[in-house]
Symmetry: C7
């Protein structure tokens, strides 16, 4: 993998993507946001907090759940990834 | 339980969920927000405040009340949980 | 009392609640916000300011006035309380 | 006077209140905000800035001018007061 | 002059006030804000930045230009003044 | 030049001003903001960051490019200038 | 290249620009933002964080991906560039 995210960003390979229903308006059952699963492919050098570089909590290979509307899609070598900030990651699945 | 929330987040099992009335518009009696009860299932490694990691105040097993509209729903092994930030937790019930 | 508010939050028992007029639209005479009185029932462990835990200024038993629209209602043992942040408390009555 | 404002708040007795014209829409001549005069009746313990408690600049007895729309009205012993943050006070009149 | 502005505020005597055209809608030629000239009449004790009191850069007698829509008008001894924050002052004319 | 900008502000003489087309609605080809060129005529004493005065990066005589909608126009001795914050300057041309 | 970006800004030469479809309204397939590729041509002196100058993570020659709607277009010697903040750069491609 030849992508190096900056700062507190991580690159994620989405594991299960929410299906879009055919021809239909989506009626969410609750107002709550639903997260997605993914695998961490690359991590940034860390977050600068009060002048100090704090390494990220997630590492390459971690299975994570993250906010569905977060991040930016990138396509590298015909493969789609997401670049997120670590703060958009909710939890690590173990 | 195999979920590890990040930073200042906690995983909550909701204890009593507000019923949704059939077919009806909900008329709240006051503008005040009503909270929900839950049990803490997993806690993050802490909140970074001014470059220092501050451990969370809540711990696994605590019964807590939290803001009803906070957090993100996750489903793990057919069980539903909520991932909240600790700041969305109002109080611990003892 | 078996409720422990988190951080800079306090639990308040409302002492005089504003009456809601029957069937009527309320016409406020001025744009100014009107406060409410209450008694402090429980206090949090303090507010984290610049990495240090600062204890709260109010203590259990204090009669306080607070912003009317602040806080979250909780019902414990058929008794209603409000959970506020200390910053929503305007003054202590002595 | 038996009221103790919290933090950076002060209690003000309004000295000259803007008259409301009868039956009429008020057409302000400029967009500029017009201030009010008052006397400081009680002051808080100070403002916490970067973890240190900084005492207030105003003291009991000061005649001050403050932003007209600031603060919260309180009525104690049939007397009306305003609770403001010190930052809503523009200047001390000497 | 018997007015003592608080903190980072200064009292300004406006030197040239923008004329309001009779009966007409004002059509600004550009979206840029136009400033006003004034003389500094009194200065506050300084701005608290990171717990330290930093004295103001302007001093009594300085001719300054400031943002036209900034500040609060005050009338003292039948004379009109403006109370501004120092950050609303753009430059000192020498 | 007898103007001393405050803090992190600089005075700019605009070098090429965007022409306004006659009688027409402007249809921007992209949503991207287009910058302007100018020459630095005067610089402020610096920006206060965390209690320390940090001198500005630009100096008198620098040709700079800046965001077109930034700043405040001032007219001194029949000459028009712009007062900007240094953060509105994008780059120095060398 | 004779352009020196200020602070945490970098100058980018866009490598592949999104085509605009002829005569048509663009219907984005997802709500997610799509990034662009570019090459770093010049970098600023660094970002001031808590009073310390932190050098940028990207350097001249880096191939980067960045948010499509970020930055300001500049034209120097008939060549178009983009000036971005480093925080608008998502990752370095290696």
């Amino acid at each position: 993998m030849n992508i190096k995210p900056l700062g507190d960003r991580v690159v994620i390979k989405v594991l299960d993507k929410e299906e879009k229903t055919k021809g239909g308006i989506v009626l969410p059952d609750t107002a709550k946001e639903k997260p997605q699963k993914g695998e961490v492919i690359a991590v940034g050098t860390g977050e600068v907090i009060d002048g100090k570089k704090v390494p990220l909590e997630v590492k390459v290979g971690d299975k994570v759940i993250f906010s569905k509307y977060a991040g930016t899609e990138v396509k590298i070598d015909d493969q789609e990834y997401l670049i997120l900030r670590q703060s958009d990651i909710l939890a690590i699945l173990e």
